[in-house]
Symmetry: C2
Subunit: 217 residues, 2 copies
């Protein structure tokens, strides 16, 4: 008997009655609320009201606020998209930064960052938020930089995490502190800054350096 599920009977022994829609609605609203008012101000009665359901029903499924939020975040971060790489470092970094920016500006991302910053305690929640945060950009970025470094495209003494976190920090500052949009233009500016440096046009100095090293050997 084809049992992809848990029960042997072919008919749905795991009935997804109105319950499934219920769960989805509540988790959705929880995320929204999380982004809007933050973790601390989020309350189950509020979520219930906004979701158009009764508090009691929520309390019965998720005993506490923490559990509810955990499940909401869990459900929200299932879709980890692979990061397509073109081989051009600048292009790839911009694409990556766009992914991160998109995440930061989404309800989920906002919620996650708020938890990360405000919930210094609550190790369980922090862990989950960290997971969600890391999930948005996985390990791929590090591979990206390792390759670039192997190609000699970036300096060997540049720390990959410093570079990535600087970009991420710039985006966070843009979105949350300045409360501005992280446009493609802005993202490109940041990436270019970090890649080429602010002093990129001091050609004389660079040439000098080159000649010196060329003549030295």
């Amino acid at each position: 008997m084809p049992a992809p599920k848990k029960k042997s009977s072919p008919h749905a022994t795991e009935p997804k009655p109105r319950g499934e829609a219920f769960v989805q609605t509540v988790l959705q609203v929880t995320l929204q609320q999380l982004a809007d008012v933050g973790f601390e101000k989020l309350s189950i009665p509020d979520v219930a009201a906004r979701a158009g359901v009764n508090r009691t029903s929520i309390y019965r499924r998720w005993r506490t606020k923490e559990v509810l939020v955990r499940h909401a975040l869990d459900a929200a971060m299932d879709h980890s998209e692979g990061l397509a790489t073109t081989g051009d470092l600048r292009t790839d970094l911009i694409a990556l930064a766009q992914t991160v920016a998109h995440f930061l500006q989404s309800p989920t991302g906002t919620a996650v960052v708020r938890i990360l910053l405000a919930e210094g305690s609550n190790p369980e929640l922090r862990l989950l938020a960290n997971k969600a945060y890391g999930n948005a950009s996985d390990r791929a970025p590090f591979a990206l930089l390792a390759q670039a470094k192997a190609r000699g495209e970036i300096a060997p003494d540049v720390d990959a995490s410093t570079l990535l976190f600087t970009i991420a920090g710039a985006l966070m500052h843009r979105v949350f502190v300045e409360q501005g949009r992280a446009t493609v233009t802005y993202i490109a500016q940041v990436v270019d800054l970090v890649l080429k440096g602010a002093t990129r046009y001091a050609k004389e100095e660079l040439l000098e350096t080159h000649y010196r090293s060329a003549h030295a050997s």
Copy 2:
């Protein structure tokens, strides 16, 4: 409301009774509490208990939590230190970043950032937090960069705020997301990254660019 201080006697018309010490204690504790539990979880009864005073007394002076926090922040950001500049851009930027990092890691700074990120609404509070944030580094940094740009030390198309906010964002990420210390080493790394760029050693490409621009037209 302002106390009726207009007395006929020329002596201390602004009496500082036990009230002054009271105010200072409460504001101090408020700041501490703000950094410890954040704005949302902060409650006047808690502050009262921690300050060893009665809630009622606090309620009478500051009607709401918002007012109390506003005054606490106001009192905390009086000392704006001038930024000494040496003329060397890298040195000055590192010094500046250290000031910012120091602020971010202080109770006041933590509180301010938490408010900035969590209190997207509350325009009044946000405004004050912004003021406190900006206060940590005033306009001096912009002058710094303007001078460097005038000297041709940095590229003319580099946006000053992008550069500064990228550094600030990197520090915020370090302190709040990674929850690590912003050491001098790390700060120098970030500043160097932003100034020189990750691709600083790709001499061939830079030379190529130079030759092209030299031979072209």
